[in-house]
Structure formats: structure tokens, C-alpha cells
Amino acid sequence: MMISSPRDIKSINPWQRLLVLAMATFTIAPFAPLIIQSLAFRWAWPNILPTVWWHEQRERSPFPLAWDYVFSPSSRVAEATINTLGIGIAVTLLCLLICLPAARVLAQRNFRGKNQLEFLIALPLLIPEAAIGIALLMIFIALGFAGTYAGVIVVHLIPTIPYMVRMLTAVYQGHGTEAEDHARVLGANRRQIFFRVTLPMILPGVIAGCLFTFLVSTNLFLLTFFIGQGQIITLPTLLFAKISGGALDATGAGIALIASVPGIILLMFTDRFIRSYPLAE
């Protein structure tokens, strides 16, 4: 992976080049009309570009201008953003706390029922989310958990745990136990071993796992929507409320762009962490 030196794009055959370019276009191009839509004041069919842009109408009609609305309190975008990030951070920390010890055991020990345990951990990815969400909603309503932050955070653990365990297990497997054994022989206690030896070694993998967990949590719609009961709004649910009618107006486009920002930031700064996470086991 690292030894081969970079070559020209011509090193792949024309079909592959076409495929790569086509997919890049398919992936990125739809964002262009979204951005235009969010900046348009009048964009009637069949104009490819708006006839009247947003800033041209600032004096005449202060409302509804997409970005003014998005940044005003009545859009609840700020509230949704804070909720999304806060829930994401809480879910990530909780998930890490639960998965890190278990991943060590899974990576380093052999025991009866290990295969079954691994299957159980993968199961939330294989059972349709709607099924889990609706069944859990009943339990949570009975417990008074529905529509609370605690309920949403707990339910976000379900789709994040399988990834976190997988990634952390792979990290532990990659390191073995030799360094810890040396430290133990040299008289370090368990706490010292963990904080001085193990943690520094596995830190890159832990960060990768945390970023991915955060990402899954911030992008989650269905479970938030079901368990949040409309009382906990996050960026995905806010956007859903805006476009559930099947039409996208300028404010909807603005919210869609805001909802993409966390992912775009993560993509730019975390490329090297996310790149080779061990999904494929």
C-alpha cells in the first residue's frame, strides 16, 4: 500500500478512468443545484440558473430568504446543530467506554461462545433499523424514555456498537500483548500499563473508531426520529421535516447544506483516520 510510488492517472485503463470520473461527478455534482437553490430568490423552470439571486433582493423582501431564515432562531437550525453534536459526542464516549474493554477480551482471549458473541454484536447491522426502532419505541414509551436525550443517546448505541467493537478489536489484534507483558515484568501496575503502554499504542485506532461512531450518530435519522418523538430535533430530522412533503425550497436547501457540514469537515481532516478502518472482516 505504501511502497508503490504514485503514477499518472493514465496508469489505469480508459474504462476505469471513465468510471472514476463518472462516479466523482455522480457524487459531487448534485451539490451544485443545492447550493444554487439555497442562494436563489427566483429560480423558475426551465432556467438552469436563477433569474434573481438572493442578495439582489435583500432590501425589497427581508423574508423568506434562505440563509437569513436558516440562521434565525425560528428555523431551529442552531438548536438542531447543538443537539446533533452533543448527542454525537455523548454517544461516542459512552460507546467507547462500553466497547474498549470488550474489544480487548475479544481480541486477546479465546473462549467458548466467542463466535456466537461476535454474531450477536454484528446482529444490529443485519436487522432492519425500522424493526428495532419501532419495537424499542414501545419499551421506551413505557419507561418514560421516549422523547428524552437519554433515550436518543442510548438508542444510538445500537447501530454504533458493531462498528466500534470491530474497529477496536482489529486495533488490539494488530498490537498483540508483548509490550504489556514487558511492562508487567518490569513491575508496572495495571493502571500504568493501560495509560502508559496500551493507550498510546492503540490511540490512532481509538480515534478512528470514535470518529466513525460520531459520524454514524450524527447521520442517524430513523432511530432519532422514532425515539425522539419530535421533541429532540437533530439536523437529519429537521431536514426530514422540511422535505417530507416531497419538495425542496431554498430554506430546505440551506438546511441540507448545514446538515452536510459536519461530514465535510470530518472528511477533510480525518482522511487518514477513516481510510483503512477494518470493515471487511
Binding site: S4, P6, R7, D8, I9, I12, W15, Q16, V20, T27, I28, L34, Q37, W45, P46, I48, L97, P101, A102, V105, L117, L120, L125, L126, I127, P128, E129, A130, A131, I134, A135, M138, I139, A142, V154, V155, I158, I161, N219, F221, L222, T237, L239, F240, I243, S244, G246, L248, A256, A259, S260, G263, I264, L267, D271, I274, S276, L279, A280, E281
Partner: protein, 300 residues
Amino acid sequence: MKTNRTVSPALMQNLRDVAEVMPLLVVLLGLFGGAVVLGILQSFGYAPWFGINEFPTTRYFERLWLSSDFWASLGLTLYYGFAATLIGLVISIPLSIALSKKFRVSRTFAALIRLPLMVPYTVGIALALVMLGNGGLLSRISAGLGLIDDPAQFVQILKTHWGCGIIAVYVWKQVPFMTLTLSAVLARKGEDTVEAAMVLGATSRQIFWRVTLPQIMPGIVSASLICFAFNIGAFEAPLILGGGYPDTLPVLAWRYFQDANYAFQLQGMAVVVSLALVSGIFLAAYLLGYRRYERARGRV
């Protein structure tokens, strides 16, 4: 439990292991297991909190499975799931192979193509609306080319049971996931076997079918399992971009749950359990087929 000093170190270690796995087990069994058990109980008529307790009754399943609407919904659900997963695989297998050849901008392209993985599905739906809708960009471009002169003439892509919009969103969102999974497998396998095959005179077609594809098969299976399970359980895309009645199963279940009549919730739970059952059957069949394939290749 009290442990005294005569406990052997091995036992101590075992106890510690159990203690370390325990939180995970509690969360998984408590949440996930609880949801499964309660869902099944309810679908068989157990809901004392609504004053309904007919357990065990198969009434809800009978009513559901005997209606043709259910089968239409199931068909649609499976169709969207299969079509999107297949198209995703057909794109992401060659894409991951192309991107595994390191060229100068391959990392940039790989990062660009990864963008959909990072944003919510609802953003994908918004993109589908702005691109594929009758007033969308494709419709405007067709008008610009003189193909149509009214939005209504544009071919209906969204809100049909063909589900092109739904499938497009799934593919858009899942190709990066599949590509990333396959790229991880390819990176681990290295290029040695491919180069060996080349030296031995294999054509590129032979290399693909005989060397690369078998190598990445585990990645293909795991990625397609996860995507298929997600697709048939997805709710927002079929709700917004779908053709309305008959709805896919998750939307159908949600409508039952939104009904003012509580008794319909049990009907909804029967829908949910049926969905999980169908998904389980397909995944098990798929895994079984895969194991047979591996065994035929002498790998297991």
C-alpha cells in the same frame, strides 16, 4: 462476589474478562434483545398496557399475510433493496479495483467519492429532489436541449413504484461504503497474486474472475449484507421519494403506529416482525450460499 487470595490468577483473569465484556452484553441483550422479544410478544397479541392481552394469537399475522397489500409492500421493499444493492456492487467492485491502483490523484478521488458516506440520508434525498424532480435540474437541462417544453412532460422519476429516486439515493450513499470495504480488503491482499497471475500469462479478464473477485468475496458479502439489511429497513427515502400506496413495509408499519387506534400498533408490530423474518431468511440463505462457495473453493 468476594474473591480471596487463594483464587488462582487464571480465574482472576477470567473473571476480569467477563467483567469487561459485561457492559457490552448488557446493552446488547437489554436493548436489542429486549426489543426483539417485546416485538415478537406484541405481534402475537401481548399488549397489557393497552388493555389487550390475547397472547398467543396469530390473528395479526393472519390478517396481514392474507391481504394482498402486504405482499405488494413486501415485493416493493425487496425490489428496492435488491436493485440498490446489486447496482451498488456492480459499481463499487470495479471502482475499488481502479482506486486500488495508486495514481497521482487517486487519494483525492477516493476522498471525493467518500463524501456521501459522511452526510445523512436525508441530504441524499434532498439532492434527489433537486436533481430528479419534475422541476429539478435534469428536467431543466432536458428543456434546455429542447426535449420537453413543460415540467409535466419530464419523465416521472420520483414518486413512482419503479423507485428510481429511492434506488439512486441508496446507490449514491452506499457505493462509498462498499468501495471503502472492498478497498480495505484489496489493500490487505496486496498486488502479489495479481502480479504472479500476470507473469504466468493470465488475461485481465481471467485475473478479475479467477484472482481478484475470489479474494474480495468476503468484503462483497459483508458489505452487501449490511447494505441490503439497511435498504429493506429504510424509511425516509421510500416515504418521501416513493410512489405512495402500497408503501414499503417500514412505512406501512409506521403508518400503523401513527394511527389513533392503539390496536393498530399490534398490527404494525406484526409488520415489523414479518420484515425482520424476511430479512433474516434472505440473509441466512445468502450466508449459506456463501459458505458453500467457500467450501467449494476449499477455503473453509
